[in-house]
Amino acid sequence: MNILFDIASVLAISATLMMIISKNAVHALLYLIASLLAVSVIFFILGAPFAAALEVIIYAGAIMVLFVFVIMMLNVSSTEQKMEHELLKPKAWIGPSIISAILLGELVYMLASPTSHSMLIQEVLPRAVGKLMFSKYILVVDLAAFLLVAGIIGAYHLGQRKKISHHRYLKNENQTS
């Protein structure tokens, strides 16, 4: 099991690394999906099958597909690829890498402690998750529902086309943008 955990984590890290380096949008997306699947495996190992399933269905399945739709719609083509090639010179990586490294170092420092807590993995069934969610965390469920409704309405409104005005004096403005 430990081996499985290590393999999955290496997979996740390398997929993410490839994602942030990649210049092609669709490639990056696929790398991201790979990373997400690896994390899903880790969830399974940790005894959270429900979370793993959700990760695949919603994250890798719905959200990434949204990304795909948008990338296709906006026609992120090879000209963009060339532009990315110009923008991503190696020396652009230095600053952000240093910053992230510092942050990582601090996080690691916080984690490093003489005693290691080992986890006794027991499987937590979806039933338990559901029970907890609708009893103790019921308010947060409602809040999440609000958030999703807000997201729907916002996305709908933002995605509207502007109406073409047929008013005599306003015709030249308000064309579809």
Binding site: L46, A48, F50, L66, V70, L104, M119, G159
Partner: protein, 101 residues
């Protein structure tokens, strides 16, 4: 089947920092959003690890909420990206810097 908790959190931290690097480096706004996804995923991983360490379902519940939030954020974010593209005709985030001063 003992996996030290520190390893899990460490993985989450590494993924988070990778995502952060991607956010800071890339100029294409879609890549930035993808990096944000990575960061959120890493946070969710940290929650699951914590929940597994305690043996109850709280970590998974929090993960579900993070997922819901991410979904809403992505939908609105992508809609905004579409509008931005239509407005500035480019996906370079530095073009959308008129709110300065």
């Amino acid at each position: 089947m003992n996996i030290p908790m520190e390893q899990g959190i460490l993985l989450a931290a590494i993924l988070f920092c990778l995502g952060l690097t991607g956010l800071l480096v890339r100029r294409n706004v879609i890549f930035m959003l993808m990096s944000v996804e990575v960061m959120l995923n890493a946070a969710g991983l940290a929650f699951i690890v914590g929940g597994a360490a305690q043996g109850n379902a709280d970590g998974q519940v929090m993960f579900i909420f993070i997922l819901a939030m991410t979904a809403a954020e992505v939908s609105v974010g992508l809609a905004l990206i579409i509008r931005m593209f239509k407005e500035f005709k480019s996906l370079d985030i530095d073009k959308a810097s008129t709110m300065r001063g």
